[in-house]
């Protein structure tokens, strides 16, 4: 497992993703992208879906990308990566290229959970060797904070407003990581910008896998979530401590937990600093909703523990 020194040494490699982007102050996405690309040693081709990352990193006359970079549309990062990877395989087979090249697709939660799910599913099923990274900030932040399939229960967004009749998003977020696991691909993981060691570890595992791999990275959005820019890392960290966003990986069907908090914090600790959940606390505390959210988190956590236990028993 890499330590701070190892991580720091990654930073000495040639930068693949750099500044000169116009992402907001305190945005979590560039932290995730640099961590992912830094952890890969081989040459990389990057495919990006439409989103903040795409529009803000390639503003004329600058680019933040120091690698071959391709953006096509919102719904098809995985499909485009399939094409690029296939072309590479053809060239290798013909002996026209000998370098080991890796392919990484970046997309947001909108481009992965919703509109891009079909392309992702197809690419995973076909077994292309590429890493798909979902930078999950839990809503369509590029178009102004509309709800997505990743938006958590009771969060306020511009299309899930809070009012007398509504408390924000009334549906639960879908568990995309689990959907991806169902494709039985070699490596699936959930990571966070709150834990780099873990993220870097997972990227290295994923990139050395011969087949498709998927990492779902939680990266907070200060504007959309409604917290100060300096809280970006702390908020995602709290998601780990409250077990809202557990870190786990599924290698060839074996589930394993990567982080178990010493003391599980109540979900309220994660919700309270975010303005998108402010209606749960003001004008008066909505205890029933809070209890419901806590129940959801508990149930998901229990289920995850069971899965990991079963995997541990099976491998003995």
């Amino acid at each position: 497992m890499p330590n701070t020194k190892a991580l720091a040494s990654y930073e000495e490699r040639e930068k693949r993703f750099t500044g000169a982007h116009a992402l907001c102050a305190g945005c979590g996405t560039p932290i995730a992208v640099r961590a992912v690309l830094n952890a890969i040693e081989e040459p990389v081709v990057v495919v990006t879906a439409t989103g903040c990352l795409e529009v803000a990193t390639t503003r004329y006359p600058t680019t933040a990308w120091n690698v071959p970079w391709l953006h096509v549309a919102f719904e098809n990062a995985a499909a485009v990566a399939s094409g690029v990877e296939s072309a590479y395989r053809v060239l290798r087979r013909r002996g026209k290229i000998s370098k080991e090249i890796r392919f990484v697709a970046f997309a947001g939660d909108g481009g992965t959970y919703d509109i891009g799910l079909q392309a992702l599913s197809g690419a995973l099923e076909r077994g292309h060797r590429f890493l798909y990274v979902c930078c999950d900030n839990e809503a369509y932040m590029n178009t102004g904070n509309q709800r997505s399939g990743a938006t958590p229960f009771a969060a306020q967004t511009s299309t899930a407003p809070v009012g007398q009749e509504s408390f924000g998003k009334i549906q639960r977020r879908k568990d995309l990581t689990e959907i991806v696991v169902a494709h039985r691909i070699p490596f699936v993981a959930q990571a966070s910008i709150g834990d780099w060691y873990d993220l870097a570890n997972k990227v290295r595992k994923a990139i050395s896998t011969d087949g498709p791999s998927f990492i779902n990275v939680m990266s907070s959005c200060p504007r959309g979530w409604g917290h100060d820019a300096n809280q970006t890392v702390k908020i995602t960290r709290l998601a780990l401590e409250t077990c809202f966003w557990p870190l786990f990986e599924v290698e060839d069907g074996r589930w394993s937990l990567n982080y178990v908090p010493e003391e599980r914090l109540p979900i309220e600790i994660w919700l309270r600093p975010q303005k998108r959940f402010a209606h749960l606390f003001e004008p008066q505390e909505k205890t029933e909703l809070l209890r419901e959210i806590q129940k959801q988190v508990d149930r998901d956590w229990e289920r995850l523990l069971q899965r990991c236990e079963v995997s541990a028993c099976a491998s003995v």
């Binding site: 909108g110 919703d114 369509y140 178009t143 509309q146 511009s158 009012g163």
Partner: protein, 372 residues
Amino acid sequence: MSKQEFVQGNEACARGALYAGCRFFAGYPITPSSEIMEYLAREMPKVGGVCVQLEDEIASISAVIGAAWGGVKAMTATSGPGFSLMQENIGYAAITETPCVIVDCQRWGPSTGQPTKAAQGDVMQARWGTHGDHPVIVLTASWVREVFEMTVHAFNLAEQYRVPVILLLDEVLAHLRENVTLPAAGELEIVERTEDTEEKMLNFGEGARLMVTGMAHDETGFPAQGEKAAQHLKRIVGKIEERAERLMRYQGFYLDDADYLIISYGITSRAVEAAVERLRAGGIPIGWLDLKILWPFPEKLIREISSQMKYILVPELNLGQLVREVERAAAGQAPIAHLGRVDGSLITPEEICKHVHVGALSGQTRGSAPTS
């Protein structure tokens, strides 16, 4: 409702939809149309309607078609890339004669293009985007109040003739705020889906065994081939084409004594208005035709008018779309010039004046006119 307000184009569209009786909205976030969904997400539940955000534009229009058959007036709103995704289902709505409204806030394209810049590049896609011959009505608007009125009109036409109606707005108009007085309740006519609509429609659960299919079918709803399929297609295309003249909606200015003519639509009409006043003040006999309905194209009208003109200018925010229709309709009776602008900015009155001065007075026509 009838008080002066400061209203955004997108908001006017959303309010127009509620005014017209729209009770189902399905959409997907896309700049510059997102505000329509955001407004309806707040307001739709208050009138007992449903506003849902779906996983993409294909799902949005599909849900709208489903809701239309379920018995409510339904709408979706999008922009260029989403509009492209919707095309298959717009064709489906046409062949199944499903009344629905699709708002397209045009932005610079193709692909992601310039999401925050205006364009009028979807004129042909709105008419011919889906495959095969099909009926469709395409409306446009230039002012915020007009966005409201045309949204209501779009629902009326959809219900009256059982056809998908597309409302072409653009980024600037969608985000523009104007001081307006929106129509009061009862001020505008609303067409409801009753026995009296010209193309009658049954909803699910109203007694008949309904079968709705995208396959070529006859009037019983069963799949048909050969001559029966041809008859069906001719009827659904014909129901709009035959009514083209009745559907015609435009405003003509100074047409009585005009030697030169400007034909415009959408956001560009605002610049034309200023240009026409300036040119008239300068003693140039200019006329102006402001089109509110683009498809069916007012062919007869343009053919008649162009016979009296020495020069026609078509300014639009594309490299030449509606101007082709104008050329076809004018059939060589007048030289036609095109002023296209595709840098994301709007055409200015100065540009139009310059073109009229240069073109009209020296007989310059399309092809030689500079485009920026």
